[in-house]
Symmetry: C2
C-alpha cells in the first residue's frame, strides 16, 4: 500500500562518516587506545582519528580509489584500522575486511570476488599475501599499516607504507554526500561449507545498527563506557564497535593481536575497561587467566557475549566470582551483526538468581527494528511458547537480503533471512538457539540439542570446556559424543560427567561416550569447529563397537 | 556524487507503529498513567494501549479514513490521545494535532488548510468547535474522547463517542507497510505573525527523532525512567515523548489538562516521576508551589527544559534547593522538535558549580544527526567562537524543508532551516540563543540581547519572572523595558533591580525602566507573549517623556 503524501522533512542521508564527525565534535579528547603490531600501546583520541581519517581520504584519492571500488583490509583491532573504517567508507568506497584466518585459497577467492583494488595489511599477514599475490589481478598495491621504521622486507609488488602515505596530506577533507543505501563495507562469512559468501552493508544499515547498539536494548554505551572489543574488526566489524563507540563517545580500547589472557588483562586493568565484547571462549580464556592468579577484582561491569551460546557455568562464574554481568547477545555476519540481547535492566536484576542465570543463557530479545520468527520445515511460523523449535528467521533494516554478487537466494526465503539456527522463542520474546541446522544431532529420527547438553556439562566443577557432536551409530544413525577439556590439573572420569547429566536431560539424550581432550579446535573467531570434531570422531562409536 | 553499488540490506522502512509494537512486546506491563478529562487518574499499559490502538485502527477504517487523509485531534495528554498518535499514523493517515489554544479563526484556518476529515476532541474543547463547525466543510464528524456516560450535549453534527466507536472492534490489526517518507503527523506553528504554518512529519523523521531522543545525548530515557511530559501533545508532539517513551520502555505519566502546581505535584509524588519535560515557566510554577509548601524532597532527578531560554536563577534553584538537574534543550516545531541538549554527563557534573550553571543556560550541543551553523546577514557562516552571532540554521533528517502546502521557501535558505533565532556557538559546540529575530532590541543601530538581561535579572532574590522587550524611543529608536513579577509577598523597587544588573552587562544595555506587573501574558505553550507586551508598552517610554 502506498500513499502519495510525504512529510516535508529534509532527506539528509545516514552516512557512516557522520558518526566520527559527531565524536570529534562532541568528544574530541575521548581516548582510543591500541595495542599496536609494533608492540607498544598507542594512545590517540577522536579528534586525531578524524584528522588522520581526512588525511587517509586524501591518500585514497591520490591512489585513484573511486566510489564503488573495494579496498581490502587485513588487520587487527587498532586505530589505523579504525581510520580505514571511516576513510574508505567516507569517500564512498567499500571497505572489505578480510579475515586473515581463512585459508590462503579462501583469501584469494574473496579478494578476487570482491575485486579489491588495494590491500591494507598489518605486520604479520604479509607472508599470506606473498603466497597468493600472483593470483590477485585486481590488486594494484599493498599498504603496510606501519611506519617507515617498521617496514618489513617483502616480495609484494607496489608496497607502500601507511604512515608515509598519509603524512603530508591535508588535515581536512570535503566528504561527499551520497545515498545512504550505498555500500559501505563488505565482510565474507567463513564458508565452512562451500565458498565464503559476502555480506555487503549499506551506510544506512550501519548507522541504524550503531544507534541500536548504543541503546539500552543492546550494548548501552555512553560517554562513561570504556569498551574493549575482543572480537575482531576483520570479522563482522567487531560487532559494530568501531561505529557505536564514537556515537556514544565511549573510550575505545583496541587489543591489536593480543587475544591471550595476559594481554587482555593488561588492557582491562590499565585502561579501566568496564564493558567487554567477545565470544564465550574469550571470557573462558580471561577466567582461566584470572583464576590462576587469584584475581577476582576487576573494573569490568559487563561482558557482552555472543557468537555462540552462553554456558550457564560461565554466566554463574562471572556473576559470583567477579560480579560481572554476563550479557548474552545474538547475531551473525548477515545481521551487521547485533540483533538481540539481554541487558541488565532493573527487572532482570530483580529476578531470583537462578532464574536470571537461566535467562542469561538465552540470546535475549530482539532490538527495536529487528523482527524474529521461528519457521518449521513447512515454512509455517510456530508459536512463541519456548517449546516449538524451527529455523530462526529475521528481518530488519540492517539485515542482509542477498549475498554479494550471488544469485543464490536460498538463505532468503520470502523476504526473511534464514539464519540456519534452530531456535525457540518464548511468550516474552526471549530467544534461545538450541542448535545450528548443520550441528543438529538426529538420533532415531528425533533431534537432540547439543547446546543444551553442553550448557549443563559446563556446570560440572571440573569441566573447563566441552562440545557435543553427532557421530555415526549403526542403529540410531547418529548419537551424541561428548568431548571434554578438564580444568588444568583436575580430574574426572566418564561416569562422573555423565551422572552429572542425570535427571537434567531426557535419558536418551545422554551422550554415548565421553572423550577427554586437551583442547578443542577453534575458528579464527574463537568458535569451536564442530565440523572438524565430527569429521575426526565420525566412526568413534562404530570403532568402539557400539 | 552517486555510486552505483548499493549494500545488500533489507529495505525495511522505519514506521511509527513499530515503536508501540516494540513496547507491547518488550514492556507490555509498563504503565501509562493519565489524568483524564473526566477527572480521574487512569492506568493502562503498553499492551493494552496496543490493543486499543488496533481497535481504533479498525474504527478508522470503518469511518472511511484512508491513506493521505488528515485526522485532527484537539486533546490534552492522555492515553486516548496516545492511541490516536499510533492508530492514525499506523493506518497511513496523518494525525493533525490541533492546538486548541489558538484563536477560533486560526483553528478554523488550519482545519480547513489541512482538510481534516474527522476531529477527535477532548471534553472542554467542544464549544470552540461548535462556534466554527459551519465553516469546516471537509470535516465529516466529531468524535468525543470519552465514554457514553460522559458524553456532553453538543450542537456538533455527526457526534460520536470514542469508547463506543472502538468497543467492539477486533483486538489485532494488520498494519500496512509503506514508505517511511510518508506523512505521519502534522502540527501548525502558532503563527504569531501571519497565518499558522504546518509542519508535516514523515515516519522516518519521527522514528529517527525517537531514537535520538532516547539516546544519552538527548533525554536519555530507559526502562527505569518515569517520564512526565508537561508539554502538550497538541504542540510539537509533546517533544516526541509519545514516540520515545515506548521505545525506551519508560513509564509515561500524562497530565491531562492539569498544568497547575498541585496537579503536577500530585502526579510527580504518586507516580515517582524522575524526569519531567517542560518550558521554563512550568518549572517556575512547580517551584512556586513547592516553595509555598516547603517541600524540597522530590523523586525528580532531571527536568528537561526547552521552548525558551533557561534562566540561571532557575538552574541554580533546581540544583541547590531540590537537587534536580536542569537539562536545557533547544528545538522548535520545525525540528520535530528536539535538536540540542546538555545531559548530565560525568564531565559536566565534574565542572565547578558556577561554570556548570552557566553551561546549563546554553541550549547544549547538537544531537547526532543535527547540523547547526550561524549565518550573518550576508548568508556567510560565522565562527564558532561563542561571540559571533547570527541566525541559527539547522539541517538533519527530522528537520522541516518546507511548510505544508506552502510555496514560500523564505525560511529554508540553501537547504537549511532558518530558525529565526539569533544565536552563538562556542568552540566546543555549545549553542546559546541570544534572542529571537523578532524580539531583538535595536538600540541606536546596535543589538541588545533581551535573554541575557532576563537571565541576570532572574537571579535577583525577589524576582519570580521577568521579560525584557524593546519599546519605542525618540532618540535610540528602541530601548529595553524590563517587566518584573516579584515573588508573592515580597518587595523591590526599580533601583534595586537595576543596580543588580550593574557590572554584569554593558551599561547601555541597562533597561530604561522597570515596570512591576502581577503576571506575564503567556502562550498556550507557556511562553511569554513578547509581541503582546511590546504592543501594550510600545509608547511607554515616550509617554513617560523619555
Ligand atoms: N547467543 C548465541 N547463542 C547461540 N549461538 C549464537 C549466538 N550468537 C551467535 N551464535 C551463532 O553464531 C552464528 C553467527 O556467527 P558468524 O556470522 O560470526 O559466523 P558463523 O556462522 O559462525 O560462521 P560462517 O562464517 O561459516 O557463517 C549464528 O548463526 C549462531 O549459530
Ligand atoms: N533552549 C532554548 N533557548 C532559547 N530559546 C529557545 C530554546 N528552545 C526553544 N526556544 C525558542 O522556542 C522556539 C520554538 O518554539 P515553538 O516551535 O514551540 O513555537 P514558537 O516559535 O514559540 O511559536 P510559533 O508557533 O509562532 O513559531 C525557538 O525558535 C526558540 O526561539
Ligand atoms: Mg553463519
Ligand atoms: Mg517558531
Amino acid at each position: 500500500m502506498q500513499g502519495n503524501l510525504n512529510g516535508n522533512m529534509m532527506n539528509t542521508q545516514l552516512l557512516v562518516i557522520d558518526l566520527l564527525d559527531y565524536a570529534r565534535q562532541q568528544f574530541p579528547e575521548q581516548e582510543v587506545v591500541s595495542r599496536r603490531l609494533e608492540g607498544d600501546i598507542h594512545r590517540t583520541n577522536y579528534a586525531e582519528c578524524w584528522r588522520r581519517s581526512c588525511q587517509l581520504a586524501h591518500a585514497l584519492d591520490a591512489l585513484g580509489v573511486g566510489m564503488d571500488d573495494c579496498v581490502a583490509s587485513m588487520a587487527w583491532n587498532t586505530h589505523r584500522h579504525l581510520e580505514l573504517y571511516y576513510a574508505v567508507s567516507g569517500v564512498g568506497a567499500i571497505l572489505h575486511t578480510v579475515n586473515p584466518r581463512l585459508f590462503a585459497e579462501q583469501v584469494e577467492y574473496i579478494i578476487n570476488h570482491a575485486e579489491d583494488k588495494y590491500v591494507f595489511v598489518d605486520l604479520g599477514f604479509l607472508a599470506l599475501l606473498e603466497q597468493i599475490q600472483a593470483q590477485l589481478p585486481t590488486v594494484k598495491g599493498y599498504i603496510v599499516l606501519t611506519d617507515r621504521e617498521h617496514m618489513p622486507e617483502s616480495s609484494l609488488p607496489n608496497l607502500l607504507c601507511y604512515e608515509e602515505l598519509i603524512a603530508n596530506q591535508p588535515h581536512t577533507y570535503d566528504w561527499p554526500r551520497f545515498n545512504e543505501d550505498h555500500a559501505a563495507s563488505l565482510c565474507y562469512t567463513s564458508g565452512t561449507t562451500g565458498n565464503p559468501k559476502g555480506v555487503c552493508y549499506s551506510h544506512r544499515a550501519l548507522v541504524l545498527h550503531a544507534q541500536a547498539t548504543v541503546s539500552s536494548a543492546l550494548l548501552d554505551l555512553r560517554a562513561e563506557t570504556v569498551l574493549l572489543p575482543m572480537v575482531t574488526m576483520y570479522h563482522a566489524s567487531a560487532w559494530g564497535a568501531p561505529y557505536a563507540a564514537p556515537l556514544a563517545g565511549a573510550k575505545l580500547v583496541l587489543p591489536g593481536s593480543g587475544m591471550d589472557g595476559a594481554s587482555m588483562w593488561e588492557l582491562i586493568e590499565n585502561e579501566k575497561v568496564n564493558v567487554g565484547l567477545g565470544v564465550p571462549t574469550i571470557w573462558l580464556t580471561l577466567h582461566n587467566y584470572l583464576q590462576e592468579r587469584k584475581i577476582t577484582d576487576t573494573p569490568l561491569e559487563r561482558v557482552c557475549v555472543g557468537g555462540a551460546a552462553s554456558p550457564i557455568g560461565m554466566v554463574r562464574t562471572y556473576a559470583e566470582r567477579y560480579n560481572i554481568y554476563w550479557q548474552p547477545i545474538w547475531g551473525m555476519t548477515e545481521t551487521a551483526p547485533l540483533a538481540t540481547s539481554l541487558p541488565p535492566t532493573p527487572a532482570i536484576m530483580a529476578l531470583p538468581k537462578e532464574q536470571r542465570y537461566q535467562l542469561q543463557t538465552t540470546a535475549g530479545r530482539a532490538a527495536f527494528g529487528v523482527e524474529m520468527e521461528i519457521f518449521d520445515a513447512d515454512d509455517v511460523a510456530v508459536a512463541h511458547d519456548g517449546e516449538s523449535s524451527g529455523e530462526l528467521r529475521v528481518r530488519g533494516p540492517w539485515i542482509c537480503n542477498q549475498y554479494y554478487k550471488n544469485d543464490d537466494l536460498s538463505s532468503f526465503p520470502n523476504g526473511w533471512l534464514g539464519t540456519g539456527d534452530i531456535a525457540v522463542i518464548d511468550q516474552h520474546g526471549y530467544m534461545r538457539v538450541v542448535d545450528r541446522k548443520k550441528d543438529v544431532i538426529k538420533s532415531g529420527g528425533e533431534w537432540i540439542s547439543s547446546l543444551e547438553i553442553e550448557n549443563i556439562v559446563s556446570l560440572h566443577p571440573q569441566v573447563n570446556e566441552c562440545a557435543v557432536v553427532g557421530v555415526k551409530h549403526p542403529k540410531w544413525d547418529e548419537r551424541p559424543l561428548l568431548l571434554v577439556v578438564l580444568n588444568q590439573g583436575e580430574e574426572a572420569d566418564e561416569h562422573a560427567i555423565l551422572s552429572h547429566l542425570q535427571g537434567k536431560i531426557a535419558k536418551w539424550w545422554t551422550p554415548d561416550a565421553v572423550e577427554f581432550v586437551s583442547e578443542l579446535p577453534k575458528t579464527g573467531t574463537g568458535k569451536v569447529r564442530k565440523n572438524e570434531l565430527r569429521d575426526a570422531y565420525l566412526n568413534y562409536l562404530i570403532e568402539r563397537g557400539a
